[in-house]
Symmetry: C2
Subunit: 813 residues, 2 copies
C-alpha cells in the first residue's frame, strides 16, 4: 500500500485512477505508526496489499513523473534557465530530455566548432589546409543541417509560441537561414563571394549549452555599454576639440605631416590616445617651438590619464553593481526552482517535508551517477531537524549540499599504520622528516640555487655553443635531488595524501616531465626545447613561501574558469573581426607595398648587395596581414596590444581607401571595452577576495566546504531494505559492503566527510549575508502575493501553481 500521494494532484491520463489519491487519502487518515526512525524504512517494510496493486503502480508512475519534473526544475535553477522554457507536456518532455544530455551538447559544440574551423579552409585559406570549394561547402551544408535538426528539437520542446518569443533562438534561426542560402549559392556558383556573414557563425558557438559563461560575459559587456558609451563620447568630444585646435595651431608648419588636414589631425589624435605615435607626433612642432609640447601634455593628461581612467572607474562600478544583481537574481532563481521542486515532492498526508523515499527518487533523475550511500548522506546533510522529513527551509540548501563528495573518514592516520613495527618506524621517520620545516627550507634552498645556477649557466653561454648534445651535469644533479624528494614525500605521506595537494601535484608533474625529457634526450630525440622550458618552472615553487603569493595564486586558480571564458569571449570578437578583415584586406599588404605612405619603411624589403655582401633590409610589417585566419588572429592580437598599430592601419589604408581606418578604430574601441571589462573583472575579483580574507581573518584556513555526518548501522540496514523492495541490486550490494566494513572494524557507525571546493558563490553568500536575508524576505513577500506557498496544506489544490506535467498535458493535448 503506497501511503504517499503527491500534494499536487496529478490526474492520470487514463482517468480510471482519479479516485486513487482520494482512497489513499482516506486510508492515510489512520494514525501513523512509524516510530522515530526514517519512515522510508517502515514504509518499505509494510507489506503491499494485493488488491491495490494497480493503484500502487499508477501512483508510482505518478511519482516517477513528479521526480523527473522536480529534477528538471532543479536543473533549470542550476543552469539559470528561465521557467517559461519548462517543458509543458509529455511530448515536450521527451524532446527536452533528448536535447538535455551531454551527447546532444557535444553534438551542438562540435557542429559549431566545425563551422568556425571551416574558415581555416575556405579561401583565403591557411595554405596547408586549403580545401576545394565543393568539399568545404558540402561540409558547411552538412553542419548547417545538423543545426537545423537541433533547432527543430528545441522547437518541439519549447512549442512554437515560446520558440518565437525566445530571442536568442530566433536570431540563431535567421543566421542559419542566411548561412544556408549562402552555402547553397557557393555550391552552385562554385566560387566564394564576399561572405561577411561568416562572422555571424560565432552565434552557433555562443548558443551552445557549454558556452553559458560566454553568454553571461557578453550580457555583462552589453550591460556595461551605456555608461561606457557616455564616457566614450566625452573622450571623442575632447578629441574633436583638440583636433580643431591642433589643426589651427600646427597646420601652418609645412614640415608637420600630422596636422595638415582636419582628418589627419583627428586620426593622429585618435592614435595619440593609444600613445602609439607619441613622441613622433609632437616632434615636428616641438622642433619649431618648444612650447607646443604643452598642447600634447594637456591633451594626454586629460584624455589618457583622466578620462581613460574614468572609463575604467565607470565600467568597474557598473561591473560591481551588475555582479551583485546577477548574484541576487541567480540566488532567487535557484530558490524559486527549489520551491517548485519541493511542491512536487511533498505528499498530501505530510505536507511539512520530503521523505527520503521521494528525495531518493528525485536524485535518481537529478544525479543518476550518485550512489545510494551518497544519496542518503545528502539527505542527512540537508535534514537539520531530527524529524524524518526535510522541510522547505532545509531543502533550500539543496545546491550547497548536493555538490559534496562524500568519503568515509579514515580511521588510520597514516597509510603505513598497518605495517609491521620496523617498517612502520622507518616510514614514520620519513613522514616526520618530510613534514619538518628543515626539509622544506632545504628544498627551497635547492630550488633557489638551481635558479641561480640556470641564470649563471645561461649567462656563460654567450658564445652560443649550447646546441651540444651533452646534458649539463647540473641538470642531472638537480633532477636527482628532486627525484629523491619526490620519492621521500610519496613514501612518507602515502601517494593519495601526497597527490591531494595541488602544489605536490605540480612538483610531481614538473619533475616527471623533466625526467621524461632526459630519457628522450638519451634516446637522441629532439626534446631540447622541452627541457629548457621545464627547468625554470621548478622555480615557481618558491612562491609558496609568502602568504601574499599563495593568496594570489589561489585566487588565480579560482578565477581561471572565468578568465578562460573571458578569453573565449575575446576570441569570438577576434573571429568576427578576422572574417571581416579577411574579406576586405586579404592580400593587400606585401613586401614594398606601401612605398607611397608615411610608413613605407616598415613594409620595405630590400635585398641589396654592398661590395660582395648581401644585405637584407627588412621592415617585416608585411607579415601583419589578413591573408588567412591565423595571420589575422596574430595581427588582431598586435592591434590589441596597441603599440605601433597605426603602422598596420596606415599600411592597409594606403593600399585600400581611407575608410579602412574605421575598421581599425572600431576594433580598437571594441577591444578597449573588452579589455576594460577584463581589468574590471580582475580588479573586482581580487578586491572581493582580499576583503573576504580581511573579514574572515580569524576563521580557519580555507580548505573548501567540509561537512561531517555519521551513519549508524541500523540506518544502513534500513536503506538496504528500502532498496531491496524496489529491487535495486547494485545499490543494495554497495550498501551491504558498508555494513560488512562496519562489522569488520566492529563499529556501530561510520563517520563520513563531505567535501567540495569553495566557489565564488559561497564567498558571495558570506559577504552579502545580511542583504541576502532582506532579498529573501522581499522575494517571499512577492511570492506570497502570487501564490500561497509556505502553508500548502491549508491551500486548496486549485490555487496551487505551477501545474504538474500531466495536468497541463491534459489541457494541452
Amino acid at each position: 500500500m503506497d501511503d504517499d500521494v503527491p500534494l499536487i494532484l496529478t490526474l492520470d491520463d487514463s482517468g480510471s485512477s482519479a479516485s486513487a489519491p482520494l482512497d489513499d487519502l482516506d486510508r492515510e487518515e489512520l494514525p501513523n505508526e512509524n516510530g522515530g526512525s526514517y519512515d522510508v524504512i517502515n514504509d518499505a517494510s509494510s507489506p503491499a496489499a494485493g488488491d491495490c496493486c494497480a493503484q500502487q503502480s499508477s501512483a508510482r508512475h505518478n511519482w516517477e513523473m513528479n521526480y523527473q519534473e522536480a529534477a528538471i526544475y532543479l536543473q533549470e535553477g542550476e543552469n539559470n534557465d528561465k521557467f517559461f522554457t519548462h517543458p509543458k507536456n509529455a511530448k515536450a518532455l521527451a524532446a527536452y530530455l533528448f536535447a538535455h544530455n551531454h551527447l546532444f551538447y557535444l553534438m551542438e559544440l562540435s557542429t559549431a566548432l566545425l563551422l568556425l574551423l571551416l574558415s581555416l579552409c575556405e579561401a583565403p585559406a591557411v595554405p596547408m589546409l586549403r580545401l576545394g570549394i565543393f568539399v568545404h561547402a558540402t561540409l558547411e551544408l552538412f553542419a548547417l543541417i545538423v543545426v537545423v535538426f537541433e533547432l527543430s528539437m528545441k522547437m518541439r520542446w519549447l512549442g512554437f509560441q515560446t520558440f518565437i518569443r525566445h530571442k536568442r533562438t530566433m536570431v540563431k534561426t535567421c543566421v542559419l537561414f542566411v548561412q544556408f542560402i549562402e552555402a547553397i549559392v557557393v555550391l552552385v556558383r562554385q566560387t566564394s563571394h564576399v561572405r561577411i556573414t561568416r562572422a555571424l557563425r560565432c552565434i552557433f558557438l555562443v548558443d551552445c549549452r557549454y558556452c553559458g559563461a560566454v553568454r553571461r560575459n557578453l550580457r555583462q559587456i552589453f550591460q556595461s555599454l551605456p555608461p561606457f558609451i557616455d564616457i566614450l563620447l566625452l573622450l571623442l568630444f575632447f578629441m574633436v576639440i583638440f583636433a580643431i585646435l591642433g589643426f589651427y595651431l600646427f597646420s601652418p608648419n609645412h614640415s608637420d605631416p600630422y596636422f595638415n588636414t582636419l582628418e589627419n589631425s583627428l586620426v593622429n589624435l585618435f592614435v595619440l590616445l593609444t600613445t602609439s605615435n607619441f613622441p613622433d607626433v609632437m616632434m615636428p612642432s616641438y622642433a619649431r617651438n618648444p612650447w607646443s609640447c604643452v598642447f600634447f601634455i594637456v591633451y594626454l593628461s586629460i584624455e589618457l590619464y583622466f578620462i581613460m581612467n574614468l572609463l575604467l572607474a565607470v565600467v568597474f562600478d557598473t561591473f560591481n553593481d551588475i555582479e551583485k544583481k546577477k548574484f541576487k537574481s541567480l540566488l532567487l532563481h535557484k530558490r524559486t526552482a527549489i520551491q517548485h521542486a519541493y511542491r512536487l515532492l511533498i505528499t498530501k498526508q505530510r505536507p511539512s517535508g520530503i521523505s527520503f523515499k521521494h528525495f531518493e527518487g528525485l536524485l535518481r533523475f537529478y544525479k543518476p551517477r550518485m550512489c545510494a550511500r551518497e544519496r542518503y548522506l545528502t539527505f542527512k546533510a540537508l535534514n537539520q531537524s531530527h524529524t524524518p522529513l526535510v522541510s522547505l527551509k532545509d531543502f533550500y540548501n539543496f545546491y550547497e549540499v548536493v555538490g559534496l563528495k562524500w568519503k568515509a573518514k579514515r580511521n588510520r592516520e597514516h597509510w603505513f599504520d598497518d605495517l609491521p613495527r620496523t617498517a612502520f618506524l622507518i616510514f614514520k621517520g620519513i613522514n616526520i622528516l618530510v613534514k619538518s620545516r628543515v626539509f622544506q627550507y632545504t628544498m627551497y634552498t635547492v630550488v633557489a640555487v638551481n635558479g641561480i645556477w640556470i641564470l649563471v649557466e645561461t649567462f656563460m653561454l654567450q658564445g652560443g655553443n649550447f646546441f651540444s648534445r651533452n646534458v649539463p651535469w647540473s641538470y642531472i644533479v638537480f633532477l636527482t635531488i628532486y627525484g629523491v624528494e619526490l620519492l621521500l614525500k610519496t613514501t612518507g605521506l602515502g601517494p593519495v595524501e601526497y597527490l591531494s595537494s595541488g602544489w605536490n601535484l605540480f612538483d610531481f608533474s614538473v619533475t616527471l616531465f623533466a625526467f621524461l625529457g632526459l630519457m628522450a634526450l638519451a634516446f637522441n630525440m629532439e626534446p631540447f626545447y622541452f627541457i629548457v622550458v621545464l627547468r625554470p618552472l621548478q622555480l615557481l615553487r618558491l612562491f609558496k613561501l609568502k602568504k601574499r603569493y599563495r593568496n594570489v595564486l589561489d585566487t588565480m586558480f579560482e578565477l581561471f574558469p572565468r578568465m578562460a571564458s573571458l578569453g573565449l569571449t575575446l576570441l569570438i570578437f577576434y573571429y568576427c573581426f578576422a572574417i571581416v578583415g579577411m574579406e576586405f584586406f586579404a592580400g593587400v599588404v606585401y613586401p614594398n607595398c606601401c612605398n607611397t605612405s608615411t610608413v613605407a619603411d616598415s613594409y620595405r624589403w630590400v635585398n641589396h648587395t654592398i661590395g660582395n655582401k648581401t644585405v637584407v633590409e627588412e621592415g617585416y610589417y608585411y607579415l601583419n596581414n589578413f591573408d588567412n585566419i591565423l595571420n589575422s588572429f596574430v595581427t588582431l592580437f598586435e592591434l590589441t596590444v596597441v603599440n605601433d598599430w597605426y603602422i598596420i592601419m596606415e599600411g592597409v589604408t594606403s593600399q585600400t581607401t581611407h575608410w579602412s581606418r574605421l575598421y581599425f578604430m572600431i576594433f580598437y574601441i571594441v577591444t578597449m571595452v573588452v579589455m576594460t571589462i577584463i581589468v574590471a573583472f580582475i580588479l573586482d575579483a581580487f578586491v572581493f577576495r582580499m576583503n573576504y580574507t580581511r573579514k574572515n581573518q580569524d576563521s580557519e584556513e580555507d580548505n573548501g566546504i567540509v561537512l561531517e555526518k555519521e551513519i549508524s548501522k541500523e540506518e544502513v540496514v534500513g536503506i538496504i531494505e528500502l532498496y531491496k523492495r524496489s529491487s535495486a541490486a547494485t545499490e543494495t550490494a554497495q550498501l551491504q559492503k558498508i555494513v560488512l566494513q562496519m562489522d569488520k572494524y566492529g563499529q556501530m557507525s561510520t563517520l563520513f566527510l563531505g567535501r567540495r571546493s569553495r566557489t565564488k558563490s559561497d564567498l558571495s553568500m558570506k559577504m552579502y549575508e545580511e542583504e541576502i536575508q532582506e532579498w529573501y524576505e522581499e522575494h517571499s513577500r512577492k511570492e506570497e502575493s502570487q501564490m500561497p506557498l509556505q502553508e500548502p496544506a491549508s491551500a486548496s489544490n486549485s490555487s496551487l501553481k505551477p501545474l504538474s506535467l500531466r495536468q497541463r498535458s491534459q489541457t494541452v493535448i
Copy 2:
C-alpha cells in the same frame, strides 16, 4: 566680577593671583540669578565691582591664554599635527605663533621654490636664464640661510628633544647641511661639480606647510609599496624565466638582434612589458617560424594582462584600506583635539559646557577674521540643547560647523521685487523666460549648431587660407546670441544669483573672453589662437544635459585639489630624476649621435640635395635630451607616456654605458608606482562617489551642507551689550546694523543660512556612519583608561591632563 574660572587651574607666573580662582570659586557658589537667556549677556551686564579689578584682569589674562591654547589645539587637530609638537611653554608659544602664520608659510614656500628654480639657471641651464656661477651660488646660499632661520625657529618652538625626535625635520637638517657645504664649495671653486644632491632640494618643498597634501600622498605611496614590490617581484621573476627561454629559443636566429645575449633578452622583455617594442621584437622570429608568436602572446598575456592588472588590484586594495584608516585616525585626532580644547574652555563652576563668552574668545584666536554675527551663529549652530552652554557632545561638531558661511536669508524672492510695477512685470517675464525649459533647450541647440558649424568651417579650410584677418561672420552671430543670453540671464536672475552657479560663471567667462578676443582682433592685435581656443569651449555646456556628465564633472571638481597634489607629487619625482639625468646625460645626444646603435634612424639629421631640392631627413629624437631642466621634464613626460621610450633609452645608452638603462628602468618603475596610485585614486574616488549617490538616491539634490538658524532681536542686543563691555567697537557697530535692518523691516528675528560645499570627509562620515560610532566608543574606552574626561567636575584637578600652558611653563622654567 568675573564669574568664570577655567576648570584647568592655571597658576599664574606671578603667583600673586594664585588665590584668585579660589576666590572666584567661593563667590560663584552663590545661586545663579541669570534667567533663561544666554548668561553671557547677563554676565556682561552685571557691574564689575571695583575691588576685584586686579583679580579680574588676571583672570582675564588666564582666560586669554586658555583661549589661545584651545585655538592651537583645534588648529593642530585640523592640520593633523601631532600633539607632541604642541608648544610647551611661553617661549615655545612665541616661536610657535611666529612660525604659524601665512607670512612665515609663504616665506617657507618661496625659499623652497627659489631653491628648486635655481636649477633653471645652474649649468646645464636653460639658455635664456643662464646665470653666472657666483650669482646663483650666492642666491642658493641666501636661500639656505633662510632655511636655517626657519629651522632655528622650529627648534625654539619644539625644543631640542622633540626636534631630534621629529624625523622629517632631521632629514631636512641633514640635507641642508650637505647643500650648505656644496654651495660653499661651488662658490670657492667657481665651478659646478657633479651635484646629484640637488635632487634632494625637493625636501624643502615637501616640508612646507602648504604642501601637506603632497606629504600625505608620499606617505600613501610608501605605504602602498610593500604589496606593490611583492607583485613586482613576481613580474620580474616571470621576466627572467622568459628571458632565459627566449634566449634559448631565438638566439640561434642570427637575424634576430633582440635575443642574441641574455642581457638583450632581458632588456627587450622589459621593454616588451611596456609594449613599446611590440610587434618589432617579435618580427624576426615570426618571419622565420610563425609559431614563435605563441611565446610573445603567452608572455604578454601573463605579464601585461594579468600581473600588471594584479598590480593595480593590489595597489587599489591597499589604497582603499589606507584611505579608510587615514580617515579614521584623522577623525579621532580631531576628536582628541576638541577634547583638549574643551577642557581648557569650561569653568569650574559650570563644567557641563562652554558659554558663549568663552567660545567667542576661542574664535577670536582660531578665526580672527570672523565677524561677531558669525561667531554667535556658529555658537548657536553648535548648541543643540536649549541650555546656554555648549556641551562636549555638541562641541564635537566644531569642525563641521565652523566652516559654514552665514548669510541672512533673503526676504525678497527676486532682485526686482522692489521695482515699480511695469519694470517688475518686464523683469518677471524675463525671469520666467530664462528659467523655462524651452529657453534652455534653444540655447543647447544653438551651442550644438555652433559646434557643427565650427567643425564644418574647419573642414572647409583645407586650403589653409585661415590666416586672413577677417573675423568669420558666424563667429559674430554666435557671439551675439551668447551675449544676449548672458544679458537676459543676468537681468532675469539678478547678477548675484546668476553668478552663484558654477555653470553660469563658466558661460559668463567664456563669453566674456571671446568678446575680449574679438575686441583685440578689431584693434589688430594677434589674439588668433586665443579665439580659436575659446570657441569650442562653449560646447562644454552641452554636458550639462546628462546626469552622468554632471556627476562626473562635479566629482572632477571635488577631486581637483587632490589631483593637483598628486600631480605635484609626480612633478617632485620628475625633479629628482631630471637633476640626476642632467648630471649624467646632459649633452650626450645630438643630431646623428647614435649612428652605431639600433635606433640610429630616429636620431638622424641629414640634409641632402636631390636634384635641385634640399631634402631634410629628420629623426627629431635628439630633441628628447637632458640638456636643461625644461627639456628633461619633457623627456621624462615622454618616458612616462612610455611609447617608444626605448628609443630614448637606447640613444643615451649608445653614448654612455649600458648601466644608463638602470636609470630609465628605475624611472619606469617609479612612474608605474605613481601612475598606479593615481589610477587607484581616481577609481576609488569615483566608485566611492557613485556608491554614495546610489545610497542617497532618495535624498535631496546635493547642494553642499546647509544649516538654518534664527536669531531674535533680543539676542542681538544682548551680544551688543557683551561686546560693549569688552569695548569692541567694530563688532558692536556690525551688530547694530543688523538691529537697524530688523527694525526697518519690522521683524523680531532674522533667519540666517550657513552654507559650505561638501567635502570628501563629509561623504566619508555618511558612508561609514555605523563604523564611526564603533571607532568613537573604542577611542573613548581607550581615553577613559588614560584620563577621566566625561565627568571632569567629579575629577580632581591634579588628575587632569594635559597640563595647561602655564602650568607646564612653571615646571619647565
